[in-house]
Symmetry: C2
């Protein structure tokens, strides 16, 4: 490959990314059917035909967005260290999950939107990965229970509770801002949520180290 074609490819990749970021905003607000290629082009600052040059169509663009969302998610998830004691693992996981929803609210909402509508666009491999990850976590929790390290609890229900409660600020952001009578949620709000959720999860597991 010549240096020229590499340069062109790099520029192309950069433009692709600009378009994907624009598409994220559009799909998040309007869903797949409601999203408009023209608006995505406007947000990205390119002519509409240009979007079709980089992506074969609306569906291909949406697939690219979902793929990126899952990639970001897997990257953020990987540092979780298995084998550590329950308190550390749960604490780390809850805080990481809350931080993820703060940093990537669009990704969180696009994924939630997709699940809510039945996950028709999710690939089988993503589905299998999720199932495997969940099974492994459930077994780890089951192990803790049998070793008497935490109180008995249905592992899956605990995982579901942690998932949903940590995502709430992203999924219902508008409602929560309305309840708090706020224009936006601050980093401090997310930190307080992470603190609260950590305490609550520890109490559920009987890991209460508080006075």
């Amino acid at each position: 490959m010549s240096s020229v074609s590499r340069k062109v490819t790099a520029l192309g990749a950069k433009k692709r990314d600009v378009i994907i970021r624009a598409a994220e905003q559009e799909f998040e607000k309007h869903g797949f059917s409601g999203a408009r290629m023209q608006r995505i082009a406007d947000i990205a600052g390119v002519p509409k035909a240009n979007v079709h040059y980089y992506f074969s169509g609306k569906q291909a663009l949406y697939d690219a967005v979902l793929t990126k969302v899952v990639d970001v998610w897997n990257q953020a998830l990987s540092p979780i260290s298995p084998g550590a004691d329950p308190e550390q693992v749960l604490d780390q996981y809850v805080r990481m999950k809350v931080e993820f929803t703060r940093l990537y609210p669009e990704a969180t909402r696009i994924f939630a939107l997709e699940l809510l509508q039945g996950g028709q666009h999710l690939s089988a491999s993503i589905e299998n990965e999720t199932r495997k990850w969940t099974r492994d976590r459930a077994r780890e929790i089951e192990g803790w229970i049998q070793q008497g390290k935490i109180l008995p609890v249905d592992p899956y229900h605990l995982i579901f509770l942690i998932w949903s409660s940590t995502q709430q600020f992203a999924e219902s952001e508008t409602q929560i801002k309305s309840i708090y009578r706020r224009k936006r949620l601050s980093k401090k709000d997310y930190e307080l949520l992470a603190d609260s959720l950590t305490v609550m999860v520890k109490r559920i597991c009987g890991l209460n180290t508080e006075r």
Copy 2:
């Protein structure tokens, strides 16, 4: 009003309801923009022009669906008895909320879909009701804490946790069925979830009556 016009009105109301039920299915699967008037008419088993006879347009139909969803929700919510002790109130609320998502998964998902996209179609009155209801619950919880009836916990974070965890089976039904490798979730699954969540919420509040 003549008996004839009353009969006609009753028939009209029945047909309106058939159309609304069809619209619920369609809006749930595809969101507002993705929903098709033709598909709604097909599901309802009436010609498309008939839908426009009963509802002035797509937006009016969606409004009718949202209004019905909120009505059903308010009806289910009303029996909650204030003044009772924390354990009773929390137990009753968690179980009622899980049962609601089991009986009305479409309503739960339409509302979640609406919130996820910023609640653009929700009326100000619904928003105000929600804020008032949440504030009242938060004060009740605050009271329990000050009376030493439950452990200290951020009332709003506790409410959000209960909301999200009880809705999970409806919001991520596809994902959860995939994890469980099931075709459908049974009544028993929901009962087990309600039992688990009740225990977990009690532990959070230090109301643990287990051995």
